[in-house]
């Protein structure tokens, strides 16, 4: 019994210490570059996709800890990608943060209905804000580990 608890503790410690993976879905090259650099510097491991379709495929394959996505993108937009993700058993619970310049409340409402609880306005957020948000969402324990 104590051994199992001990093993669990070690595993938990190891899990907590592991680099969290962030999937960044953004079609603008420069923005992708700026965000990737900052997130890596903040200690995250970063996966990138430049449209919703690519983002969806990568998310389902690699199961990142958090997805940071734009809304307006070619091929597949952010909303559609989120909708598709929520159909998946794993994707149902993954933490998603929207980072966009869109301030259309209808689009944001739609995202909320898909179970995305956090939205940031690009031009109003400093890089520190973005990283703080990512950290707090990762630590928020909203995800269901099932």
């Amino acid at each position: 019994m104590p051994l199992r608890v001990f093993c669990k503790g070690v595993l938990y410690y190891y899990y907590m210490d592991a680099k969290k993976t962030i999937l960044l879905v953004e079609d603008e090259d420069t923005m992708l570059f700026a965000l990737t650099g900052a997130l890596e510097q903040a200690g995250f491991s970063v996966l990138t996709a430049t449209d919703g379709a690519q983002g969806l495929a990568l998310a389902l394959e690699k199961h990142p800890d958090l997805i940071l996505t734009d809304l307006k993108m070619p091929k597949m937009g952010g909303l559609e990608m989120i909708h598709e993700l929520r159909q998946d058993d794993w994707g149902k619970h993954v933490e998603i943060v929207i980072l966009t310049n869109i301030s259309d409340v209808n689009a944001l409402d739609a995202a909320m209905k898909e179970g995305t609880f956090f939205y940031m306005n690009k031009s109003d957020s400093s890089m520190a804000d973005v990283i703080d948000t990512v950290r707090s969402r990762l630590g928020s324990g909203h995800r269901d580990p099932a």
Partner: protein, 417 residues
């Protein structure tokens, strides 16, 4: 010579000539009097012809210029008149009804009815010029924007009549709308590269690309400030164009006004401290919670407080006050009093004008869009409240806002930035 004169004097011709002359004069008088109606008729006909010509010219001018004229007599209703173009503008051609002031309300679109009724009641109550803009819906469902301008005339102490004209400003409104849409699109497009610049500069400044010399750091600070400034300006442009397009969404929620005001003041404390300005909030203790758009209300507080700090010299004071006001306590009253540079008397009526900045404000703070107060006024009036100010140049200014306890909803889809 003598014989000639005496002959004339004695001649019977003289009385005869005199008689003929008298008869002629009498005949002329009789004829003149008898012909008077005919001449009057001729004159009247001439006047009628002239009047018809003038009316026709006016009619053509009205058609070309898309305006119609009217007069409404409150006492002798029969002498009220509407020009043909009035009926055309309101889509009531062929004339369906005699001129009546109530037609303005009848044709007004639902959201304009209130404005029209209010304006007409005011026009009837006080003499002088009045004007309002309305959206009119014709019986055939076509929509026009109409500007009404008029003047109320007294006879003695009675409100006698209203003279005025209406102008079809649909085309102007469309052009204005296209302009606002262009501004929205352009500013929105600018935001993406600006966000990139901001983040890249932040990355550089944080040392992500290697250590920086103090001079490099200073350059970057400058870029960072300018970028922030540009983002703030673009946000203001977006707000203005969206307000004008009626695209701002209001989200009504229950708000603790005092907490919100405290929050805003805490945010601005740093700027006040930097100029050794005493920033205080006096608040009534038991203010009720109100139903308002938090984002918009925050923006109103922020604008007024930051303006006060910006235009108050070192060591001055900015005092904010919150209290309940209005009959049956229907609104909350917020005021900001500063010991700043004040607004010059001759510029006071332009304070809320879009893009206007007072001379002394420009001299003190070079950058500023002149959009802040315009945005504040538009938001608060849309919500059903109001804003006013009192100012003395060189002494200070007090801005006062009446915040309704229940805001009017508006149906847009965009958040204020």
């Amino acid at each position: 010579m003598e014989t000639v004169t005496s002959f004339i004097a004695r001649s019977p011709l003289i009385p005869l000539l005199a008689l003929i002359a008298i008869c002629a004069v009498a005949a002329w008088v009789v004829l003149f009097v008898r012909n008077a109606p005919v001449r009057q008729n001729q004159r009247a006909e001439k006047l009628v012809r002239e009047l018809a010509a003038v009316t026709e010219i006016l009619g053509r001018a009205e058609k070309l210029g898309h305006f119609g004229s009217f007069t409404w007599n409150f006492v002798e209703k029969g002498s009220s008149y509407w020009s043909e173009e009035m009926y055309v503008i309101f889509g009531l051609v062929p004339r369906r009804q005699p001129p009546d002031i109530s037609i303005f309300v009848e044709v007004a679109a639902p959201e304009s009815k209130g404005t029209v009724q209010e304006a007409l009641a005011k026009a009837q109550a006080q003499p002088g010029p009045f004007s309002f803009t309305m959206r009119a819906i014709a019986p055939d469902k076509s929509v026009r924007y109409v500007r009404v301008e008029g003047v109320t005339v007294l006879r003695g102490k009675t409100v006698w009549h209203i003279d005025g004209f209406v102008r079809d400003i649909t085309r102007e409104m469309e052009i204005d709308r296209a302009k606002s849409e262009f501004v929205t699109l352009a500013s929105h497009q600018l935001k993406t590269p600006l966000s990139s610049i901001r983040w890249l500069v932040e990355g550089l400044a944080s040392g992500a690309a290697g250590a920086l010399t103090p001079t490099q750091q200073k350059y970057l600070d400058g870029i960072q400030r300018s970028t922030q400034h540009m983002i703030a300006m673009i946000n203001e442009l977006l707000n203005v164009s969206r307000i004008e397009l009626d695209k701002i969404a209001t989200r009504i929620e229950e708000i603790d006004v005092t907490a919100l005001a405290k929050d805003v003041i805490a945010e601005q404390q740093h700027d006040a401290d930097a100029k050794a300005i005493t920033l205080t909030l006096k608040s009534a203790t038991d203010l009720p919670r109100i139903f308002a758009d938090k984002n918009a209300l925050r923006m109103i507080f922020q604008n007024l407080v930051s303006n006060a700090i910006k235009y108050t010299p070192q060591g001055g004071s900015v005092t904010c006050e919150l209290s309940e006001t209005g009959a049956k306590n229907q609104s909350v009253f917020f005021s900001v009093t500063d010991t700043g540079i004040g607004i010059p008397a001759d510029e006071q009526d332009r304070v809320f004008e879009k893009l206007h900045r007072a001379r002394n404000a420009q001299a003190l703070v070079a950058d500023g869009t002149g959009l802040g107060l315009y945005i504040v006024k538009t938001i608060i009036e849309k919500a059903g409240g109001g804003i006013s100010f009192e100012s003395k140049e060189g002494r200070g200014t007090t801005f006062s806002v009446t915040i309704p306890m229940r805001w009017r909803e508006s149906g847009g889809t965009f958040q204020l930035m």
